[in-house]
């Protein structure tokens, strides 16, 4: 089959060899779980338990706060020992429920199994929302919102994101290899909710075993597996849509504006659990990796597990850590400490030592144009960044700064090692602030 892709982008070293061959292992329960109320894009959930409460696994501990929000659940059974602000992966202290596990790991009695065939679309959507399902690729956008397009939007294609284009991360890869039946079940539920047949799983050819496995397993389900050229950021929604269908999401629009809904393969698996088993999103698969980890692994983690505990399960730190990143090296967020908990969007934990970090002083732009060549949106990153440095916010807006998806290709490639995407983020902040004022 001909390989598809998008225009722009680049191919940084995969660095997936650290963990790609490691089967998923279940990470045991830590001494305490720190479960933040804010784990998704949208309004944080309202905490509805108090210190001293006994909770069971899957029990709601924070209620959804509006349409673009989801409830948060206890990830194991035990006692609530604190409801207080704790250090969050976002970098500041945010409200969280701290649970001391009782070791029984007992599911809440209200949870029951369902047969998706017997349920109507609205009940399926409610189950997905009540289970707290969010985009598992890292963006954590509430899934039920994506599944509720306005009436005038016609959706004809569901794309499953199995690209995992971030270097180092292998969680989705292992999920596709080991638990394809969960993904396929989730796809069938998603198709029923959207009322469409066409489903495409996009996978890059650096995961040939996953392509082979899913092609075989999907044959009976009328699901197309689309091999893709290895190219970052192909896992970005807009680029994946373009690669798989040739369509473009209109500037400022959403995938639904070109008839597509994109879901991560991990989200599909979580949807299967939520509907068929009635189990809320209380665990996920994450890759604990990097040169700063003794034995990198793919772990099935309980939401709320402190990063330190995850690192300990992987043989501990290899040398002195200099940078701890939640997510991948291209778009992940640096962490203040290993005390923060893993949350629903934690696709990986990456540890770099001093010697692993690029350290080159930034020089002047030599106008080589490489940032333009790699920009998957075809922006002029160096021009926008220059305007951003001069605080010329209107000019940056005119050069389409808001269309930037912050993939980081420009900064990665820049021979002057300028912080281009960082400057563009600054410009975007300025543009948004200006729009709020008007």
């Amino acid at each position: 089959m001909k390989l598809k892709s998008f225009s722009g982008g680049l191919h940084p070293p995969d660095s997936k060899e650290y963990s790609a061959h490691k089967p998923i292992e279940r990470c045991p329960l830590p001494e305490e779980l720190i479960i933040p109320a804010a784990q998704h894009i949208g309004a944080p959930a309202d905490i509805c338990v108090a210190v001293g409460d006994q909770v069971k696994k899957g029990q709601v501990i924070a209620n959804a706060n509006g349409f673009v929000s989801v409830p948060i659940h206890a990830s194991t059974s035990g006692e609530v020992i604190a409801v207080e602000p704790r250090l969050h992966p976002m970098g500041r202290e945010l409200p969280a429920v701290v649970i001391k596990p009782d070791g029984l790991d007992q599911w809440h009695e209200s949870l029951r199994q369902n047969d998706p065939e017997q349920l109507d679309v609205d009940s399926l959507k409610n189950l997905i929302r009540d289970a707290g399902i969010v985009g598992m690729g890292g963006a954590t956008f509430p899934t039920h919102v994506k599944l509720s397009p306005p009436e005038e939007k016609t959706i004809d294609t569901l794309i499953l994101n199995g690209v995992e284009c971030e270097p180092f991360l292998t969680a989705d890869h292992r999920l596709m290899l080991e638990e394809s039946e969960r993904i396929i079940d989730g796809i069938n539920i998603l198709r029923k909710v959207l009322g469409i047949d066409q489903a495409i799983i996009g996978i890059e050819v650096n995961k040939p075993d996953a392509i082979e496995k899913l092609t075989r397993d999907c044959a009976a389900h009328n699901i197309q597996v689309q091999p893709l050229k290895v190219r970052y950021p192909q896992g970005a929604e807009k680029q994946l849509i373009n690669a798989c269908t040739g369509r473009q999401v209109p500037s400022g629009g959403l995938p639904m504006d070109c008839g597509v809904v994109v879901q991560n393969v991990g989200t599909a698996a979580a949807i299967s659990d939520a509907v068929r088993l009635g189990r809320p999103l209380v665990e996920r698969i994450a890759t604990i990796t990097g040169p700063g980890i003794v034995e990198p692994k793919n772990l099935r983690i309980t939401i709320g597990t402190p990063l330190q505990y995850l690192v300990d399960q992987c043989g501990g730190l290899n040398g002195e850590p200099a940078k701890i990143i939640m997510g991948g090296p291209m778009m992940g967020q640096t962490q203040l400490s290993l005390d923060v908990p893993a949350i629903r969007g934690t696709s990986g934990v990456l540890v770099f030592r001093e010697e692993d970090l690029p350290k080159m002083p930034a020089g002047p732009c030599i106008r080589c144009g490489r940032c333009i060549g790699v920009c998957p949106i075809h922006l002029q990153p160096t021009t926008i960044a220059a305007y951003a440095r001069l605080e010329m916010i209107d000019a940056a807006e005119n050069y389409n700064a808001l269309d930037c998806i912050e993939c980081g290709c420009c900064t990665y490639i820049c021979p002057a090692t300028l912080p281009l995407v960082q400057s563009i983020r600054h410009a975007k902040g300025g543009i948004m602030a200006k729009r709020r004022k008007i």
């Binding site: 722009g8 680049l10 940084p12 970098g91 016609t154 270097p167 807009k238 373009n242 473009q248 999401v249 209109p250 500037s251 400022g252 629009g253 504006d257 008839g259 730190l317 002195e320 850590p321 200099a322 940078k323 990143i325 090296p329 291209m330 778009m331 992940g332 967020q333 640096t334 203040l336 400490s337 290993l338 990456l350 770099f352 690029p358 080159m360 020089g363 002047p364 732009c365 030599i366 106008r367 080589c368 144009g369 490489r370 333009i372 949106i377 075809h378 002029q380 389409n400 269309d403 980081g408 900064t411 990665y412 490639i413 820049c414 021979p415 002057a416 090692t417 995407v421 960082q422 983020r425």
Partner: protein, 329 residues
Amino acid sequence: MENPLYLSSSPHIHSGETTDKVMRLVIYALLPATALSIYLFGLPALSVLLICTLGCMAFEALSCKLMKQPLTLVDGSAALTGILLALNLPPSTPWWMSLLGAAIAILIGKQIYGGLGYNPFNPALVARVVLLISFPVQMTSWTTPAPIGSGIDAVTAATPLGEMKTAVMLTGKLPEMATSGFGNYFFGNMAGSLGEVSALVLLLGGFFLLFKKVISWHIPISFIGTVLIIGGIFWLLDPSKYPNPLFHLITGGLILGAFFMATDMVTSPITDKGMLIFGFGCGLLTVLIRLFGGYPEGVSFAILLMNACTPLIDRYTRPKIYGQVEQKA
């Protein structure tokens, strides 16, 4: 964990490509041409090369010191400017002119604007044109190659383009050297500047830069293609008065200009479409100057004039971004 952790916004890895690596690759691509020019012209060429290169580096260091800026010699751009300047000068250039050229290139061509990345004009060409206008006699005294060890003596001669211009102006007709047997020039068998006589090796260097993706094909192809097409049209109109387009290609500084001077990233447009327009402009001006201008060679002037257009071209050649499509109803 004893040391505090680094906090920064993504990305956290880098390609390892740096400005000094880019500059070094361009210098490597020029090495065969410089070696050939030393072989063809001997010690005079070596002295021009050394004075220009070391001079440019010295003036760069001096500017950094005067302006209390960190030393920028490591980025290699000053050395590169020096080599390019030397390749644009006749082998008989006196030492003081080479040194003056280096000063003009670095001080007036580059540092006065703020250094690397901020100069609107190609510094080496600024210096060449200032020297050409100020010292027309020395700058147009050419000698034929006298390869080291060949026993041949260098003799004063005109460049092929100069000889053609003189003949056309005097007789209205092309001289014989411009109509037949000019293929020899491709291998450096002519009088000219250090870089003009090395068309073949410059072409190899240019392909090396294309292969290494230091430069893109847009400027060289559009520049040379335009010269061939426009030059070809005139040739078809009157082959007795206008030379074969291949004569345009292998004489003068076209290959040096198209692959190494016009592609200077700082002074050329930043988008693919802009580069095509830039190359077209360079090609058109080159042919017009060569055929109708007062000077026999027009590559330097053409590139400098197009350098001036670069900001304008950039403004009107913004790429169409992803998502600028009709919204699906």
